[in-house]
C-alpha cells in the first residue's frame, strides 16, 4: 500500500454509499503521514447545493477552486470545469485580455453546460493545471493528488476522455493537453485508480465491471479497498451449525449472519478475479472523525 503514495494522482472510485469519500480522506491522511504534500479534491457537480462531505471530514464547510490548507501536508480543492477552461484559455492565448473576452462572451460557458464531454474536459484541464504546479524550488507543489470521483460512470467518462477526443481532435492545443494528462494518468507509475467497494454481491459485480472498464481506458488499478467488512468470523463448522439450527431463518441475527457469509464470498470473488492488491477495512462503529484516523492507521499497515 505504501508505494501507492508514490503516484502523482489517485482516482478514488466506487459506487455511491460504499464510503468512498471517507476513504479518500483517510488515504489523504495516510499519504500525508508518509511525508507527501497531498491535495484532496472532489469533482464539482452541477447544481448541488453547498454540501461538501469531503470538506466536512476535515472540519471545513466547503472547498474552492484554489487549494486551501486542510491539515498538515493536506490541501483541498474542488475540480471545476469552468476554472479548468479559464486556465486553459489563459495559457493558450497568453494575452489575458483575449481569454477574458472569450470567457465573457458566455459562449464557452453555455457550451460547457450543454455538451456532455466538454464538462469533463474542463475538469480534466483543471486537474492537469494542478499536476503541473511547481514550488519555487522546482518541486511539485502537489506531490500526490487524490480525487474523490462522483460515481463509477463519471470515472470512466474522465478516463476515456483522452481516447475519445484525441481520435476526433488529433492536433492542436486540446489534443496536446489531453496527451499531457494521458502521460500522467495512463502511466501506472504516476497514475492509478483505487476502487472502493463493500463486500456485497452487486457492489462487487459493479467493481469488477469498473476494473474492466478502467483497463480498457488504459487506467491502472493500484488497489481495491473492501470497506465495512464484518468483524465476526464464522468457521465453516460454525456456519454449517447455524444453517442447521431449526427455524433459524426466522430469528434475529440471521440477516447479519447472511451478510457475513455474503461478505466472505464477495471477498473470495474479488481475490479470484482481479489480481490487484486488496485492503480490507473492518466495520467499526466509531464516530466519523475518529473513523478517518482509524482508517488512516489501518491503511498504512496494509502491505500489498
Amino acid at each position: 500500500m505504501h508505494d501507492l503514495f508514490d503516484r502523482r494522482v489517485i482516482l478514488v472510485t466506487g459506487k455511491g454509499g460504499v464510503g468512498r469519500t471517507t476513504l479518500t480522506a483517510a488515504l489523504a491522511r495516510a499519504g500525508a503521514a508518509s511525508g507527501k504534500r497531498v491535495l484532496v479534491s472532489e469533482v464539482e457537480e452541477l447544481s448541488r447545493q453547498g454540501h461538501c462531505p469531503l470538506a466536512e471530514l476535515f472540519g471545513v464547510r466547503s472547498l474552492g477552486t484554489e487549494p486551501i490548507q486542510l491539515a498538515e501536508n493536506i490541501q483541498g480543492v474542488e475540480l471545476q470545469a469552468e476554472t479548468g477552461a479559464a486556465r486553459f484559455l489563459t495559457k493558450l492565448f497568453k494575452v489575458e485580455a483575449l481569454s477574458r473576452l472569450a470567457l465573457r462572451t458566455n459562449v464557452l460557458l453555455r457550451i460547457m453546460q450543454a455538451g456532455p464531454s466538454l464538462h469533463e474536459m474542463g475538469v480534466f484541464y483543471h486537474l492537469l493545471h494542478l499536476l503541473e504546479g511547481r514550488l519555487e524550488n522546482g518541486e511539485h507543489q502537489h506531490e500526490l493528488i487524490l480525487i474523490d470521483m462522483p460515481a463509477t460512470g463519471h470515472t470512466l467518462a474522465l478516463t476515456e476522455l483522452p481516447q475519445i477526443l484525441t481520435r476526433l481532435v488529433s492536433r492542436g492545443p486540446v489534443a496536446e493537453a489531453l496527451r499531457q494528462g494521458q502521460a500522467i494518468l495512463n502511466n501506472p507509475d504516476t497514475g492509478t485508480a483505487c476502487v472502493v467497494t463493500i463486500p456485497e454481491p452487486l457492489p462487487v459485480s459493479e467493481s469488477l465491471e469498473l476494473i474492466d472498464g478502467l483497463k480498457k481506458t488504459d487506467m491502472a488499478v493500484g488497489a481495491i479497498i473492501v470497506n465495512r467488512f464484518p468483524t465476526l468470523e464464522f468457521s465453516p463448522e460454525e456456519a454449517a451449525a447455524v444453517l442447521a439450527f431449526d427455524g433459524i431463518k426466522e430469528r434475529l441475527g440471521f440477516s447479519e449472519f447472511s451478510r457475513n457469509q455474503r461478505a466472505q464470498a464477495s471477498l473470495a470473488r474479488l481475490q479470484a478475479n482481479t489480481g490487484v492488491p486488496i485492503a480490507i477495512v473492518p466495520e467499526s462503529h466509531t464516530d466519523p472523525e475518529n473513523l478517518v484516523e482509524l482508517l488512516a492507521d489501518h491503511l498504512s499497515e496494509v502491505q500489498p
Partner: protein, 377 residues
C-alpha cells in the same frame, strides 16, 4: 387501496430516483412486475441493471427497441393477459440512433447524420449522455400510447434530477444567439467583432480543421437538438400531471437519507408529485423476530454449535440496534413525506433480489408496508 397500490394500479408514469447504490433499479423493476401481474401493460426503462436483473427481464442483450418478456418468462413471473411487461435498457447509443431515425424521415439523410464521427463519439460516451436520453425515451413511449404504465429508473448521479434539466440546457444553447455564431457564415455576410473573436478562440483551441467539423456537426444537428429540447420540455410538463409520481429510494444510512430529503425538496420546488420514500434494505420488516436462544441447541450440543450460537447472539444484538436506527430513519422520512405521500420500508433480500422471486418479494413487502401505513391513517 393502499398508497403504493394506487401507484401500481393507477399512475401512468412512476420515476424512481435516488443516489447511486440504493437499489432504485430493483425497486423500479419490482413495481413494474407487480403492475403487469395486476393486468396492466407495463414498460420499465432501466439504466445499467445488474446482469441478473437484465436476465430476469429478458434484456441481457442491448436491443434497439423494448423487449417484451418471453411467454415462458411471463408465465414464470405470473403475468397473464391483458397484463404484459416489456423492458428496455436506456443505452445512449440506442436511444440516440432511434431518435435520429424518428426525427429525420429520409433514411439516407439519417444514416449520413449518424455516421458523423462527432456524433458517434458523443453517443458512445458512457456518462452524461444518459441524462440527455432518459427524457427523450420517456417522451417517445408516452407518445406511443402502447403502455398503460411506464416506470423510469434514473441515471446514477448525486443530483438525481439532473436528467430533467440537461436536455433543456442543451436546447437553450441551440436556441440562442450564441449558437448562430457557430454556424458557418453565409457569403457576403458582415463579420462582426464577436464573431471574429469566437473564430479565433475556437480555431485556436481545437485547431481550424476540427472547428469546422464542429460547426458542421452543430449545423446538421441543430434541428434534432431543438426537437429533443422541445420533447424534453413537453415531457417535463407531462410529469407535473396527477398521474405521474416520483418515488425516492434511499438506503438506511444518514448520508443516503439526507440525499433523499434533499431530493424531496427539489421535487416540491419543481412542482412535481412525490409518491413517497422507499427505504430499501432496511431491517424494519424483521422486527417480529425473536432472539436466538439455547432452545436452538440440541440436548448435547457440539463445540461448533455452542460457539455458533454465541456468535449469532452477538449479531442479533447488533441487528436489534440497527433495527432501532432504521425505525428512526423511517419515522424521519414519514414526517418529511407528510400526509399526502408515504414512507415504506423494504427488507434486505441479499443477492437473490434480482430474480423474479426477489422482485416479487420487494413488491409484496412494499404493499404490506403500505397497507399498514393506510391502516394507521
Amino acid at each position: 387501496m393502499s398508497p403504493i397500490e394506487e401507484v401500481i394500479d393507477q399512475k401512468k408514469i412512476a420515476v424512481c430516483c435516488g443516489a447511486g447504490g440504493v437499489g432504485k433499479t430493483t425497486v423500479a423493476a419490482s413495481l413494474a412486475l407487480e403492475a403487469a401481474r395486476r393486468g396492466r401493460r407495463v414498460l420499465v426503462l432501466t439504466i445499467d441493471p445488474s446482469r441478473r436483473l437484465a436476465e430476469t427481464l429478458g434484456v441481457s442483450q442491448n436491443t434497439p427497441d423494448p423487449v417484451e418478456l418471453s411467454p415462458a418468462l411471463q408465465e414464470l413471473a405470473g403475468i397473464k393477459p391483458p397484463g404484459s411487461l416489456a423492458a428496455w435498457i436506456l443505452n445512449p447509443e440506442r436511444v440516440s440512433d432511434r431518435t435520429v431515425k424518428r426525427l429525420v424521415p429520409d433514411p439516407k439523410k439519417a444514416r449520413k447524420l449518424m455516421d458523423q464521427p462527432i456524433y458517434r463519439s458523443l453517443v458512445s460516451m458512457t456518462v452524461g449522455m444518459q441524462e440527455y436520453t432518459a427524457m427523450e425515451a420517456l417522451h417517445q413511449f408516452v407518445e406511443q400510447g402502447r403502455f398503460d404504465f411506464i416506470v423510469l429508473d434514473t441515471p446514477p448521479s448525486r443530483n438525481a434530477l439532473n436528467f430533467l434539466e440537461a436536455p433543456v440546457r442543451l436546447g437553450r444553447f441551440f436556441d440562442s444567439r450564441v449558437f448562430s455564431l457557430f454556424l458557418p457564415r453565409k457569403d457576403g455576410a458582415v463579420i462582426g467583432t464577436t464573431r471574429k473573436v469566437i473564430d479565433k478562440v475556437f480555431g485556436g483551441i481545437f485547431g481550424v480543421e476540427f472547428y469546422h467539423d464542429l460547426q458542421d456537426f452543430f449545423r446538421n444537428f441543430a434541428e434534432v437538438f431543438l426537437q429533443l429540447s422541445e420533447n424534453a420540455k413537453a415531457i417535463r410538463q407531462r410529469l407535473e400531471c396527477e398521474d405521474c409520481c416520483f418515488l425516492l429510494v434511499a438506503s438506511p444510512t444518514a448520508e443516503r437519507v439526507e440525499d433523499a430529503v434533499y431530493l424531496k425538496h427539489r421535487i416540491d420546488a419543481l412542482n412535481l408529485n412525490l409518491g413517497g420514500f422507499i427505504l430499501n434494505r432496511s431491517l424494519i420488516p424483521l422486527a417480529d423476530r425473536s432472539l436466538p436462544g439455547p432452545d436452538l441447541l440440541p440436548s448435547t450440543p457440539t463445540d461448533a454449535q455452542r460457539s455458533a450460537l454465541a456468535k449469532l447472539q452477538e449479531l442479533a444484538t447488533i441487528e436489534r440496534t440497527r433495527l432501532e436506527e432504521h425505525r428512526q430513519i423511517l419515522e424521519q422520512l414519514a414526517e418529511e413525506a407528510g400526509d399526502s405521500s408515504m414512507a415504506l420500508a423494504v427488507p434486505e433480500l441479499g443477492d437473490t433480489v434480482d430474480d423474479i422471486q426477489g422482485l416479487g418479494l420487494v413488491a409484496q413487502s412494499l404493499i404490506e408496508a403500505s397497507e399498514s401505513v393506510a391502516q394507521r391513517r
